[in-house]
Amino acid sequence: MEDTDLVILWGSNARETHPIFFHHVLKGVRKGARLYVVDPRRTSSARWADVWLGLDVGSDIALANAIGSEIIAAGLQNRAFIENATSDFGAYREAVQPYTLENAEKLTGVPASVIRELAHAYARADRAQLCWTLGITEHHNAVDNVLALINLALLTGHVGRYGSGVNPLRGQNNVQGGGDMGALPDRLPGFQHVENAELRAKFDKAWNVKVPPKKGLHLSGMFEAMELGKFHALYVIGENPLQSEADQRRCERLLRGLEFLVVQDILLTPTGELAHVVLPAAAGWCESEGTVTSSERRVQRVRKAVDPPVGARDDIEILSDLAGRLGHHWGRLTAEDIWNEVRRLSPVHAGMSYARLEALGGIQWPCYDESHPGELFLHSRLWQRPVVGPRAQFSVVEFEPPVDALDETYPIRLTTGRRLDSFNTGVQTSRYRSPLREPERLDLSPEDGARYGLTEGERVRVSSRRASVEVQVRFDPSLRPGLAFLTIHFQDVVATNLLTIDATDPKSGTAEFKATAIRIDKLAERPGAQGRARLQPAP
């Protein structure tokens, strides 16, 4: 990130959500890299940018395809790379052709000249990084959004080289590690597909059980299954779905409808309050041993620094005991024992002994054996001639507006996000006294504030097609009319996710947190307030 010529942050406010990563971006910027930020809001990250492209919420594919189209029209695509390492370029070229700069301006709001500038700068840069976060993935077409960006990297060859690449920034300290370990519906540890008989056999043998041959459900799928009455028991470890999932009302109804809900967590979360059984757990990062994997695939050690409170137990201990009750006696396992099992079964982790993790301060997978240094970036194979392994495929993706459409009744686009000093649903961060924290409020453009006759600090009712919440308003000049912003940090106070839609991406199961249609109504005067007529709801 520090040795690159151009950085695009797309749907990412890394300044606040990945502050230390942003240090590295700024090191690059100080060395001369140009920074482009694509975000509906002019965020604190966007304010560092050479150019901010404030697209309309959910128009990412239109913008990406227009950039691709312009690069091809200007003949700036990396022909050698495309020929050597990719497939389906023809279909892509054809598909993006209608996304002219002018059309994209209409779909995204971003002036054609600015789109053109980004297209040319990205294509001409010697080295370029394309990073994204939830602004890309919390949409009903999340995977398509990602594919649209990957297309751009393939088009220009900005992938698999030092200083060039695509970077999805992970939101949690071990969300990558969860995937590594097989906490995906279709994968076993090390990303080995569960429906691949040969791979499965390895696990069957090692574990002396029959691993079910069919992939499982992702979270949104589970809720769908609950809705269909096909899903009866849920074991939640370290999640707070009641507050983190879109359309909270539905979520609560479904969780309450379960026959058996187990929650294992370090704190009694609102989800835990619904549970039949709560298993108090030790905090993974400071009360137990183990590893986590960061956004850059770096496996690093977490260590026990303090004892958990009385009654809270290490996750390994809880799971081992549970297994014992179910008839599988694993004995007393240490974190390292389990890790060594991972190394035996997952080739990409094979070389990462605790000793090496300690000595090297972490290793980036893949690391195939104990002489392997780990890999700084992936996809270097695409630059081999001929390419090693399968070619990287261009994907045809089309722009689709957000599911929750704006209309006269719900004219404002609400998008959600995070602030620097808080984290997700605030289970952990609400416990420290951050001087930055203000009461949760709905951010509105000053123009909308005036249009609805609001004053700053006034409480309003925010309604979506699903529910209403009351919240104070704040005027934020980084927003334009028709765009509003709420965080998800204070669900107890402002249950943002009552408003959001559960339209989920069919491929990844991510809900469209980023695009909700809302209306804003002034609250009725309190009894006792004099001289003012009851205000009618705003149009």
Binding site: Q300, A305, P309, Q384, V388, G389, Y432
Partner: protein
């Protein structure tokens, strides 16, 4: 597949399996630069060879010569302002700061001459006579090492309340009977840390960490002029009104305890701070996916402060407000403690 199967979440949605794990390609390496020229220099009569671009400080440390530093930190751009690392270089009219001076071919360096010792001693005396160094073990060690006697300059003047308003280029008349100091009231304007600028040696580290070398927030800078130069927000406004984002990186680099975590400050005030009873454990921050190493300082089973090691490429000693301060939640889970 009939309609019902389409609806069955177990069977619907078959994305094409991505290529993970990716087939093995060549192991990527950062681009290599042409090997650097070796330069030779003489240190205290001994021939030494180092790579071009090495600073004198690195060269000296490389051969085990312990060179004192205060304003230098591996992770920050050398500002060479404290001048305690000065050494003698043949041909140079003045002493040169080892921290920033690059080695040149044929340099002849002396590190322990009377001239060097005098400047180092005076630097320590200047600091100890004008600043409260009671929470800086480093400066106290240097005082012993160089035989500093700051009391030679007379008794310290009492703290002044108006340093923030000092006008550049002017000072109050002195009769010389008391040694001017930077003594002033402690600033406490937020829950997370204290600023006791009566302990500030103006090493610029906090400004660098808040600015271009890490955080790029620029909430503080060196304001004013001369002896009245000071670390300040604009118009000396309290931190909560300033740009401060409470990353605490300034505290992480402060060598004198002028900037201190509220937890540490308050324990010191109440006499319960005891480093001999503390352990330090490296782990990974529980928040976002960047993977910052945090060092938990634990006393009596409680986290008392969080720092970050300098030698990790990801953090280089720097954290954000969540990693630095957002650890309380693990400690308020004792049985019976209320939720939220």
């Amino acid at each position: 597949m009939d309609q019902r199967d389409q609806k069955d979440p177990w069977l619907s949605h078959q994305p094409r399996p991505p290529v993970i794990p990716t087939p093995r390609g060549p192991v990527p390496v950062p681009p290599t630069f042409p090997p650097r020229r070796q330069l030779s220099l003489t240190v205290n009569g001994r021939k030494v060879s180092v790579a071009e671009g090495t600073t004198l400080l690195e060269a000296l440390r490389g051969i085990g010569i312990d060179t004192p530093t205060l304003c230098y930190l591996e992770t920050l751009t050398p500002v060479n302002v404290c001048r305690i690392c000065v050494v003698e270089v043949e041909g140079s009219r003045t002493l040169v700061p080892a921290c920033s001076r690059k080695v040149e071919e044929g340099m002849v360096v002396k590190t322990d001459t009377e001239r060097v010792r005098l400047s180092r001693r005076l630097v320590v005396e200047f600091l100890a006579s004008s600043v409260d160094v009671s929470t800086s073990p480093q400066i106290q060690a240097y005082m012993n090492r160089y035989g500093a006697r700051p009391q030679r300059f007379g008794p310290a003047s009492p703290p002044a309340g108006h340093r923030d308003a000092a006008r550049a280029g002017y000072h109050e008349a002195t009769d010389g009977s008391r040694a001017a100091t930077v003594g002033q009231p402690v600033k406490k304007d937020n829950e997370l840390y204290y600023r006791d600028y009566g302990k500030c040696i103006l090493c610029y580290k906090c400004v660098e960490a808040c600015g271009t070398d890490a955080q790029n927030t620029f909430a503080i800078a060196v304001a004013g002029h001369g002896f009245e130069a000071r670390i300040s927000t604009e118009h000396a406004i309290p931190l909560p009104e300033s740009a401060c984002v409470y990353c605490g990186n300034c505290i992480g680099v402060c060598p004198t305890g002028a900037l201190m975590f509220a937890s540490e400050y308050e324990m010191r005030q109440s006499g319960t701070w005891d480093e001999s009873r503390q352990t330090q454990t490296d782990t990974i921050c529980p928040y976002c996916g960047v993977g910052c190493t945090t060092t938990l300082h634990v006393q009596d089973g409680k986290i008392v402060k969080v720092t970050s090691p300098l030698d990790k490429d990801v953090t280089r000693g720097h954290l954000c407000v969540k990693g630095r301060f957002g650890w309380q939640f693990v400690q308020i889970r004792d049985p019976g403690s209320e939720r939220r």
